[in-house]
């Protein structure tokens, strides 16, 4: 996309339309604030965390106190530091995998919508196949087969997530393909590639951004869910989902599971607030429905 400079002004036009008045919505502001807050926590984790998240230096399973605001875990690590470092794992991974899913899904969807011939049925039947599994069952089988680690969990979620984009983008391309300005550009003899890049893609940006923001929320949930099942991040990495899982083993030490769970909740709700407000801008009645399937 970035290789075509002519796209930029058009994209900017589109962007202005849906960002106008966006930040006058309290929900968007709250969402953005929390999201930026977590991003800052992720970036400055070493400065913010009171202790090394891996250091097993403290008495085991201490309740929250002044020294350890969130208590300590079963290996005597500081839970607050682990929650802070957890942002470094969950957020970048969620962003990475949504970017991958968006890129893969959008490209395949656009191709399917534009070159209807054989590409379309192949892509669409594949999305059917993926949709036929609940996300977590498919992701579970994929990670269990390839081996449980963060890389495979990300891969599994990308496999689960891309079809949504493919479907939405294909639908938009199909409807745009019939739009007058695209027909006109075709009649004027533009190449397929040019039509796709200049006329079709810019108009996809809005819906895809909304979808991607909401998917960030789902990605964090799914990643945490897989880690909760022991199929995502591996110890000693301070991943929120796996911290909750350990917390379930030590029920009576409620702080071990409650705080990482709260971290997941706040991060997810931030992106849901943002995505929902964005959708409102684009489509105030909330008519467009991508299959953004909630996960964990």
């Amino acid at each position: 996309m970035s290789s075509a400079p002519a796209v930029i002004p058009e994209e900017a036009v589109v962007r202005r339309r849906w960002t106008k008045g966006f930040f006058s919505q309290p929900l968007a502001v709250v969402g953005a604030a929390i999201a930026i807050g977590w991003l800052l926590v992720a970036i400055f984790a070493p400065l913010l965390a009171p202790y090394d998240p891996l250091a097993q230096d403290f008495p085991l399973t201490q309740a929250p106190s002044r020294e350890h605001l969130f208590g300590t875990d079963e290996l005597g690590r500081d839970v607050l530091s682990r929650v802070i470092y957890g942002a470094r794992l969950s957020l970048p991974l969620a962003i990475l995998l949504v970017a991958l899913a968006t890129a893969l899904g959008s490209v395949l969807g656009a191709l399917a919508g534009y070159f209807r011939s054989w590409v379309d049925p192949v892509v669409m039947r594949t999305t059917d196949l993926v949709f036929a599994f609940p996300a977590i069952i498919l992701a579970m089988v994929v990670t269990a087969s390839l081996g449980p680690n963060v890389r495979n969990a990300v891969l599994a979620i990308v496999i689960v997530a891309w079809p949504t984009y493919a479907r939405v983008v294909r639908g938009l391309v199909l409807s745009l393909g019939d739009a007058e300005f695209v027909q006109a550009s075709r009649l004027l003899g533009s190449s397929s590639r040019r039509t796709l890049l200049h006329d079709v893609l810019p108009n996809l940006a809005g819906p895809v951004v909304v979808l991607a923001t909401l998917d960030l929320a789902n990605a964090i949930l799914l990643l945490a869910g897989l880690s909760f099942l022991g199929l995502g991040a591996q110890p000693p990495d301070p991943e929120w989902g796996s911290m909750v899982a350990v917390g379930t083993q030590y029920f009576q030490y409620w702080w071990m599971g409650t705080f990482p769970g709260l971290a997941i909740f706040t991060a997810v709700i931030a992106f849901n607030f943002l995505g929902d407000s964005l959708r409102d801008r684009l489509d105030p009645r909330g008519v467009s429905r991508g299959k953004h399937q909630g996960v964990a």
Partner: protein
């Protein structure tokens, strides 16, 4: 949108109120009903996190199956509580030849199966041969053993090599005696090739065919196994009419056992259990378990130059913070003095334990000449034993070795794929454990050069022929005093140069309602339900 204002104000709020009321009603009524949540009298509930593949006695070898099978089937000999001394049960008496190759058992004559058929040597013969020929998990128990039944109440076991451990193998629930007539009638066979021709498993998953105090009422490998008292039991009647073995994850067990009566929780770690001490309605018993957690390191430089380096191995031995591992496991755990658990013959005294020595470990790392040593350690990722997760141990190991400058990369794998590469000797280092198959030091010869566990770290006979010879000699020794001293001698040299680092024996906790008696962990089986009584 202004028109929305004209909606009558009552209709929807009323609907909402109705919904809320309905929810409240449901919740309130359930709260009410929870009060009279009593169990039928005479039911013992055992909460455990299920590890069960089958309850066909001659196929099973899993802890949960052992609880059920131990209740339904009798063995020739048995153990009481934590003792490892074999006691008479179906066999009234027995004789062992001087060379420890021939074992003659005399059966009691009053034992009968739940259908009334008397139990005879033919049933023992059938059951033992079925174990051997099914080639299932427990078949190794009778490796090299030939069974015969010269009279109706005599059974003879002949081992091809001296087998002083056999008397401690016989109490294993997998060697429980089945009603041969019933099992045969339902497709069972004890003949050679039984692994292909025996079809009795489905029957034994829905019925029991034993002589024990309990019979099978229902079996579900995901939820619960229900046993019911056998009205015609030949021995002393069990206290409980019904025993329910129920599948529950440990955290739920922790909550449940505090609520119920006649309830036992089996899978709490000593740490979890210790939070329950002082509650008057509960009894917490912790014993040092015979399970032994250890670390293995590969001796083959082709797998890892670093791991196979003797200096690095010594460095690791002295870098591990043993007391902190013990602490992790909770009160009651002990540092393992050697690879043989402290409850078994031939174990080392506490003075033989390795002590952490960081300067020595650092010096050894330096002596290895490897600038920044790095080792990959594998562990079974979702495995938890005695409430201790291998993931937790692996993290402790990593942090301990980092202190002497050895970097450990952790790789967790599901048990299946872990075992595959582990058995093939491909792990540079593993977080591992050994649970006793039978309470005898011979079970631990697997750790001597050329043994099963030693092969997984490529520690063949050629790597330490002297120790291998010693092991062979110990295996065939009949006298217990001589065996004990030989095993101690082996243990001492292993603590210096074997590629195994024994860490600790966890405390096994058993939490039960305080009215229960004899709710204790066995050496082989997790719990003997027939012994549990009430005060």
């Amino acid at each position: 949108m202004h028109r929305a204002a004209r909606v009558p104000r009552l209709a929807l709020p009323a609907a909402l109120v109705a919904v809320v009321l309905a929810v409240v009603a449901v919740v309130a009524s359930t709260a009410f009903a929870a009060g009279d949540n009593t169990k039928a009298e005479g039911t013992l509930v055992v909460d455990t996190s299920f590890v069960v593949q089958t309850i066909d006695p001659q196929r099973m070898f899993e802890p949960t199956s052992q609880i059920a099978v131990k209740g339904m089937y009798d063995t020739l000999l048995t153990f009481r509580g934590q003792s490892t001394t074999p006691l008479p049960w179906l066999a009234r008496s027995w004789k062992v030849s001087k060379d420890a190759k021939t074992f003659t058992f005399t059966l009691r004559r009053d034992a009968k199966f739940s259908d009334g058929t008397p139990l005879t040597s033919a049933d023992v013969l059938f059951s033992y041969n079925r174990v051997i020929n099914l080639k299932g998990s427990p078949s190794f128990l009778l490796a090299g053993v030939k069974v015969s039944a010269p009279t109706k109440y005599t059974v003879v076991l002949r081992s091809s090599t001296p087998n002083p451990a056999l008397l401690r193998i016989v109490p294993n629930p997998s060697l429980g005696i089945v009603n041969s007539k019933v099992v045969k009638a339902n497709g069972g066979t004890d003949a050679l090739g039984g692994d292909k021709t025996d079809k009795a498993e489905p029957y034994l998953l829905s019925h029991s065919a034993g002589s024990g105090p309990y019979v099978l009422k229902s079996y579900n490998n995901k939820t619960e196994i229900v046993l019911e008292a056998n009205p015609g039991f030949w021995g002393p009647k069990p206290t409980f009419q019904t025993v329910v073995i129920r599948n529950l994850p440990a955290p739920t067990q922790l909550l449940n056992v505090q609520r119920g009566s006649n309830e036992i929780a089996l899978d709490l770690s000593a740490q979890q259990a210790s939070t329950l001490r002082g509650k008057s309605n509960l009894k917490v018993i912790t014993n040092a378990s015979a399970n032994l957690f250890n670390i293995d390191i590969n001796t083959d430089p082709k797998i890892s130059e670093v791991a196979a380096n003797p200096h690095i191995q010594t460095a690791i031995r002295y870098a591990l913070d043993y007391p902190s591992f013990v602490k992790l496991s909770g009160p009651g755990a002990v540092q393992a003095p050697g690879m043989i658990p402290t409850t078994f013959l031939g174990h080392l005294p506490p003075t033989a334990r390795i002590k952490r020595n960081l300067p020595k470990a650092r010096a050894e790392v330096k002596a290895s000449g490897i600038p920044s040593p790095k080792i990959t350690m594998y562990y079974p990722s979702e495995l938890t034993i005695n409430g201790i997760s291998f993931a937790t141990l692996a993290q402790k190991t990593k942090s301990n070795l980092a202190e002497v400058g050895i970097q450990v990369d952790l790789v967790g794998k599901p048990v299946n794929s872990f075992l595959e590469t582990y058995a093939a000797g491909k792990h540079p280092m593993s977080q591992s454990y050994w649970g006793p198959d039978y309470p005898d030091p011979n079970d631990y010869l697997v750790f001597t050069p050329g043994g099963l566990a030693a092969n997984r770290v490529n520690w063949g006979v050629a790597k330490d022929p002297k120790l291998a010879a010693l092991a062979k000699q110990a295996q065939r020794t009949v006298s217990d005093t001589v065996r004990a001293s030989r095993f101690r001698q082996i243990g001492r040299s292993m603590n210096q140069r074997a590629p195994f680092f024994p860490l600790f024996q966890p405390a096994q906790a058993i939490v039960s309602s305080s009215n229960l008696t004899n709710a204790v962990l066995g050496v082989i089986w997790p719990l003997d339900v027939r012994a549990v009584g009430t005060r």
